[in-house]
Amino acid sequence: MPEQPPGQRVRNFDEVPLGYDAEAAMAEASRCLQCRRPLCVDGCPVRVKIPEFVRLVAEGRFSEAARKIKETNAFPAICGRVCPQESQCELKCVLGKRGEPVAIGRLERFVADWALQHGKIQAPELPPPTGYSVGVVGSGPGGLACAADLAMRGHDVTIYELFHAAGGVLRYGIPRFRLPREVLEAELEYLAKLGVTIRLNFVVGRTATLDDLMEDHDAIFVATGAGLPRFLGIEGENLLGVYSANEFLTRVNLMRADRFPEYHTPVHCGDQVVVVGGGNVAMDAARTARRLGAENVTVVYRRTRAEMPARTEEVVHAEEEGVRFGFLASPTALNGDDDGWVCSMTCQRMELGEPDASGRRRPMPIEGSEYEIACDTAIVAIGSRAHPLVPETTPDLELSTRGYIAIDDSGATSKEGVFAGGDIVTGAATVIEAMGAGRRAADSIHRYLTSERPTDEDG
């Protein structure tokens, strides 16, 4: 797929992959073997009807292909861009055993973009209203997916979002060069067409508690995510110029600090930036720093490239854009100058030992191997924790370890009528996994609402 050349794209926030044209999409789609038992669908957390839509693309029937995807995935323009297809549908593609799998993600993106550009997105015919009302806490991928599914079944859905704009991590976390905001806006418009209401600036746990919401709704889905940034817990972490990736990205993505002072929220991005972490968020922060003008951007990761949780595509893109990698290194201190600004990071070299619980080889420090990296900005991208507001203000909501919400197989929490899913249950994971959880919860909520259950009057 054609891409913006690296030298050009580090000077803008436009999307990097430029997308297929119709001819390229049809050619790619015609490679699909149309397996009778399509394994690709098993690899998809929301079970998109992949062979069907790919065949429609091969035949040039793009708007039908768009409708086919929308049957199971309300947000293909997002998923086609941010899903880790290489470890999901494309990993299972039979063609991948001997060569390149069908580029399912790129085809999904093509179809979704085509439909957006040609105004072919119509809300499906909705069933008559059921009279049930569902509150969804959080407008990130999990909340959006759940809301869409419930609305398509005739339930009245209200989403509560604490920020002034909807989308959760799709808004504040993922940079526009990976997910253009027009795409997000279009997907949100689609949700509005389904009749979903979004209440912005509504902080559940503060503006109203979950118990308050229960008075207005028959069921609740909690999808508040893992929004609380983790820090390293090392000396110097509160120096000026040290950010959580959440803050750095929020300033740029949500508040548009890249356009300071036209937009009034500033961000400090020096010339020498060190990013700690090996996930997609670390790649997003590093690539954003390059676009803000940082000359030297180094990603420090305690294992090797092979263990990086980031998608290969993101790592390659980062490398192409001049981001450097310091593998097998772990920060032990951040050092400051007289004014309190960070000026360097002390790292310790690591070696890989025995596999740990995650199956990855555990990094072990090498004694006496400390070295310093000069930096004027440091970004900590080592993951996040459960957002605490809902658990803290809902006393009878059972938690699992580390403050995440405990659910059963159906997605139900310990509290009657309250379901949960996404990062607030699993800890930080991917957009599509959260969407999958949202869709499964929507199924359970639908069953819960429409099955016989004792009413309040029955005691």
Binding site: L162, V203, F231, S244, M255, Y263, H264, T265, P266, L389
Partner: protein, 308 residues
């Protein structure tokens, strides 16, 4: 939905707004704040909720028009809706019957002092109010303070009103005179809060401060407002904004408050509508990221729009 229903200028560039926000009015307790954004390109900035009227569904906000967003807010008339308003945020103040409480407001810090003093008085505490300001025209909310407190001492740096000196001088004199003080609340510019903490430390008087670090989301998601309290990192927005004054690392707080001063200074130069260096107009300034040096920090005595 967040309509301005009343407004008045209570002192020069200091405004009191009544804003419709029924849900916030219902939930809000002393010590909590809201985060606002007043136009599409504006910052998110915190303001203390000074009072609320659950029956009317309104909240009271007091701010100084010193940065771009607050100046813009000050131009918004009755009937206009505020673009974004979220809250109430932060932990409510821990209120109990302590006995005699000294409540200290430094300059604009009086605005966040009022709701907490009100709650302390309602819990049956005896209140000694101490209000400090640079000079007479910076003394705000005096009448209201007198109504809440059992007695009020006022001091100004230049002696133009009340005692000449700082709030710490007044507090020290009370302690020296044998006044039994069980609890101290101090809100104002960071150097003032630090000075109060140092004063009460040897006496072991429980002392609470409300911190105003730089915030973005106000809900715990960015960590920009992190402060060190008793050697531990806390987020002022969700763990605070009030903390035990004797445990706060004020040095770090002051440094972090100045993180963007240089960038903002440059932005100000670009946008400065007046060229004279003496002009006090702060067009282009940023409401929750203020001050560059001690002088600017002092100016915050009078400019504490970030009540949190």
């Amino acid at each position: 939905m967040h309509e301005i229903v009343a407004r008045e200028e209570i002192a020069k560039d200091t405004w009191r707004y009544i804003v419709r926000a029924p849900e916030i009015a219902r939930q809000r307790r002393a010590g909590q704040f809201v985060v606002l954004r007043v136009y599409e390109k504006g910052e998110r900035f915190p303001l203390t909720v000074v009072s609320s009227d659950p029956d009317e569904g309104t909240i009271e906000l007091i701010f100084q028009a010193v940065g771009t967003s607050t100046r813009m807010l000050a131009k918004m008339d009755v009937g206009v809706e505020i673009l974004d308003l979220a809250g109430p945020l932060g932990r409510p103040t821990h209120i109990e019957h302590f006995g005699t409480c000294a409540v200290l407001g430094g300059g604009f810090g009086m605005a966040p002092v009022i709701p907490i003093a009100t709650a302390l008085a309602e819990a049956g505490n005896t209140l000694i109010g101490i209000n400090g300001a640079r000079s007479r025209e910076y003394v705000i909310l005096e009448e209201r303070f007198r109504q809440i407190c059992d007695r009020v001492e006022i001091c100004t740096d230049d002696g133009s009103y009340g005692h000449r000196g700082f709030v710490t001088d007044v507090l020290q004199r009370l302690i020296d005179a044998g006044e039994q003080i069980d609890y101290v609340l101090a809100i104002g510019p960071t150097p003032m809060m630090r000075a109060v903490a140092e004063l009460t430390r040897p006496y072991g008087i429980r002392t609470v401060v409300s911190l105003n670090p730089i915030m973005v989301d106000g809900t715990g998601m960015c960590g920009g407002c992190r402060v060190e309290v008793a050697g531990e990192v806390k987020f002022a927005c969700v763990d605070g904004p009030e903390f035990d004054a004797h445990q706060v690392d004020f040095d770090m707080l002051m440094k972090r408050q100045r993180m963007y001063s240089e960038m903002e200074g440059e932005a100000r130069k670009m946008f400065e509508p007046h060229s004279t260096p003496l002009c006090c107009c702060k067009e282009g300034g940023h409401d929750n990221n203020r001050g560059k040096d001690e002088a600017a920090a002092d100016a915050r005595a009078a400019s504490r729009p970030a009540g949190a």
